[in-house]
């Protein structure tokens, strides 16, 4: 048995670090970070997490705030600070607000450097894909707070569906297998192994007594659906071979354990849904994730200046001055505070007078590389294959296929034909033209759905590390950098704050963006209270 890097697993089993690497491969850096916290590799962040941000009305006179970037953190800041009485203005470099919260529909422009695309999906409210965030876990209470407050209509997002496939070139001749089949057989064999080894021992070591021993054996039976003699002989959980409604169900023959172990599907398909961020039942706004952006924008009329590209950020003795390009002209504006959600790796290249250690951290954050490819299918062929929503997995570069959680039985649908967070894979996709990416997604998807090509009409792709004004997805912090420098980047320098999911322990999630903005705003409030006290003295 080997790891994904083909290193043999040691007799002692996985080290914590190895386990983390696997989780990281399966679920991205945010999951790895979270798991790392669970495993005690990293100290959990010390910052107290407020239930909800509550800013007191401003009482210290007119205060101005420049917010750089109209992503989720910027929108949250403008909305909350505005409500509290601050004069806010958002400067956004691109042609649209929302940042990585980007739902792509008919007519939308995808501003990828060197690979600009328009979306030609049919004009239909159901035909869209969420190129950035697509799902919200229940414990992301900060972003959900705004969905509730703004009345954003939500629906379930199915993140784990056992009827979907797992496909691995190394196993079963590359043939796709239903996740439920793989999972039932694997659990069956492991339970049998466990039950028999417990049975073979006269008694367990203290503190386990005979009753515990019996309970453990019963647990194994239930966990693996074992027969009365604790043998795994197949299970209904794998789906019947035939029958089951008007005739007796016929079980499928279990696959051999040795064959099951050829694939590392358990690193992805099987255990993915165990992560708290990746539960089977997540949520998403009806009609696209950008309904959240729309809800903010409708409450911020005239506050967002698009196509304003920041050229310079200068800390002043009091406040901050920001210079930016607008319509080919350089403009300058001063404010008491600046909330800056420009990706740190780009801010490092923008003229500034920041302290060396502060900008030094920005230089060390790595660009998150993440790609998605969306395909318009002229027919919802997956429904005929008994798949309604969920995710299939493959060992190929496309990594996953997502089936939409909405629009059942409609004529057409948008599939996510590839979703990769592996930097090497993302480099391969980013080096392709859009046409090549679509062709690759179709070719690889055909291993899961033989007639795939017949159904796919067109597609769009997004490589976040190549998107104009972003050049990266969630910031990549090394464990070391988090330990030494997170606090530096989170702390204000005068009236200047770096914000966004990049300044959270949860990069790549909207929750990180909201909470980072809340954290900065509470600090601004403290600064104002302090000024008030000084005046009083």
């Amino acid at each position: 048995m080997t790891t994904p890097e083909n290193k043999p697993i040691s007799a002692q089993g996985l080290s914590r670090r190895e386990a983390l690497l696997w989780i990281g491969k399966a679920a991205g850096s945010a999951a790895m970070l979270q798991a790392a916290t669970l495993f005690g590799v990293l100290a959990a962040p010390a910052a107290a997490q407020a239930e909800l941000v509550k800013l007191k009305p401003l009482t210290t006179g007119r205060k101005t705030v420049l917010i750089l970037g109209a992503g989720i953190s910027g929108l949250v800041a403008a909305y909350e600070l505005g409500k509290a009485g601050y004069q806010c203005k958002i400067l956004e470099a691109s042609h649209r607000a929302g940042g990585r919260n980007f739902t792509i529909r008919h007519g939308d422009f995808i501003d990828e450097l060197g690979n600009p695309q328009f979306c030609h999906f049919d004009k239909d409210p159901d035909l869209y894909f969420n190129a950035g965030p697509a799902r919200i876990p229940a414990h992301h209470t900060a972003i959900l707070h705004y969905c509730r407050e703004f009345g954003v209509e939500m629906q379930l997002f199915c993140n784990h569906n056992k009827n979907c496939y797992t496909q691995d070139d190394k196993a079963f001749g590359g043939k796709a297998v239903r996740i439920r089949e793989y999972e039932a057989d694997t659990r069956g064999f492991f339970s049998e192994l466990m039950a028999k080894s417990i049975q073979s021992q006269a008694k367990l070591d203290a503190p386990f007594d005979e009753i515990d021993r019996q309970k453990l054996i019963e647990f194994c039976r239930a966990y693996g659906d074992l027969s009365s003699d604790f043998t795994y002989e197949g299970s209904e959980r794998a789906g019947y071979q035939s029958g089951g409604i008007l005739s007796p169900g016929v079980l499928k023959t279990p696959r051999a354990l040795a064959d099951l172990l050829q694939s590392d599907f358990w690193a992805g398909a099987m255990h993915f849904g165990e992560l708290s961020d990746q539960s089977a039942a997540l949520m998403t706004p009806v009609g696209g994730m950008d309904k959240i952006v729309d809800a903010f924008l409708s409450r911020l009329p005239g506050k967002v200046q698009l196509k304003a590209q920041v050229q310079k950020v200068q800390l002043l003795p009091q406040g901050v001055e920001v210079s930016y390009w607008l319509d080919g002209q350089l403009q300058a504006e001063q404010a008491d505070y600046c909330l800056n959600c420009i990706p740190a790796q780009l801010m490092a290249g923008i003229e500034n007078n920041f302290p060396a250690d502060y900008v030094g951290v920005m230089r060390q954050l790595q660009r998150g590389k993440l790609s998605k490819i969306a395909l318009q299918a002229k027919e919802r062929f997956w429904e005929k294959d008994q798949i309604y929503s969920g995710i299939s997995w493959t060992s190929q570069d496309i990594t996953q296929i997502w089936y939409p959680s909405h629009g059942m039985f409609k004529a057409k649908g948008i599939l996510l034909g590839a979703y990769s967070w592996d930097p090497a894979i993302s480099d391969r996709f980013s080096a392709m033209t859009n046409q090549q990416r679509i062709a690759t997604a179709i070719a690889q998807g055909s291993k899961l759905h033989p007639d795939y090509a017949k159904y796919i009409e067109q597609g769009n792709s997004i490589c976040w590390q190549r998107m104009n004004h972003m050049l990266g997805c969630g910031a990549v912090w090394s464990e070391e950098l988090l330990k030494t420098s997170f606090a530096t980047l989170q702390a204000p320098v005068g009236g200047h704050y770096m914000v966004g999911d990049q300044v959270s322990y949860h990069p790549g999630w909207q929750e990180g963006a909201v909470r980072s903005a809340w954290h900065a705003m509470e600090s601004i409030q403290q600064q104002e209270l302090q000024k008030q006290r000084q005046v009083a003295v």
Binding site: A93, H95, F109, D111, L113, G114, N115, P116, F118, K307, Q309, V310, Q311, K312, W325, G328, A344, Q345, L346, A348, G349, I350, E351, M362, R363, Q364, L365, R367, D427, S430, A431, R466, N468, H469, L471, G472
Partner: protein, 206 residues
């Protein structure tokens, strides 16, 4: 009816133009707000480069001389951008970039500077004694460029990932010279020496 359709077409055309960023500040997203480069995303200093060299390299990227046969993801990124640019956009971008004041990348590189200086004599024949560049030979200024960038390019020439295209005679020459260097340490020492040189004067740039 006809007018209505014409109106829609006009609107569609202006919408398309509106969403693209026509202006040259596009370059600054990656290469820094003063075109001084950005190490955080591996974008080299453009401000030290003269218009003729920028033109030649954009042409190299467009013609698959650069970025095509390479494992370097950053070159591929630039290749895609270059290929998406029209001649008019290239002209405008270069005009914009060369308007910035030259600034030097601040960094230090460990290496044997005196050994690098000795090796640099070969380089000086084309790139000039102060690495200020030579237009008539098509040799760009090197002084003020990031060390990691110079090293990566020397490695690309040595491995044949750059300077391999038949029509790219200047690249071929550079490939030959880079291949004659004995070791990675030699490359490092040369770059460490270049790193000590002052910026080329603006008169050279123009």
């Amino acid at each position: 009816m006809k007018y209505w359709i014409f109106g829609c077409l006009l609107f569609a055309a202006s919408l398309q133009a509106e969403t693209f960023q026509q202006n040259a500040q596009y370059c600054l997203v990656c290469h820094g707000s003063k075109a001084q480069g950005n190490a955080a995303i591996s974008a080299p200093n453009l401000a030290i480069l003269p218009d003729w060299y920028l033109t030649a390299q954009l042409r190299a990227f467009q013609s698959d001389w650069r970025g095509h046969q390479t494992t370097d993801a950053y070159s591929k990124e630039m290749m895609a951008v270059a290929k998406s640019m029209s001649p008019e956009e290239i002209k405008r971008a270069i005009g914009f970039i060369t308007s910035f004041q030259v600034s030097k990348a601040v960094e230090t590189l460990d290496g044997n500077i005196s050994h690098g200086k000795a090796l640099f004599q070969t380089c000086a024949a084309c790139h000039g004694a102060s690495a200020e560049g030579n237009k008539s030979l098509g040799a760009p200024p090197l002084a003020g460029q990031y060390s990691w960038y110079l090293l990566r390019q020397l490695q690309a020439y040595r491995s044949g990932q750059r300077g391999n295209a038949e029509q790219d005679s200047k690249g071929a020459l550079m490939k030959q010279i880079a291949s004659s260097l004995n070791s990675e340490q030699d490359l490092n020492d040369i770059v460490a020496y270049i790193n000590t040189l002052a910026l080329p004067s603006t008169s050279v740039k123009n």
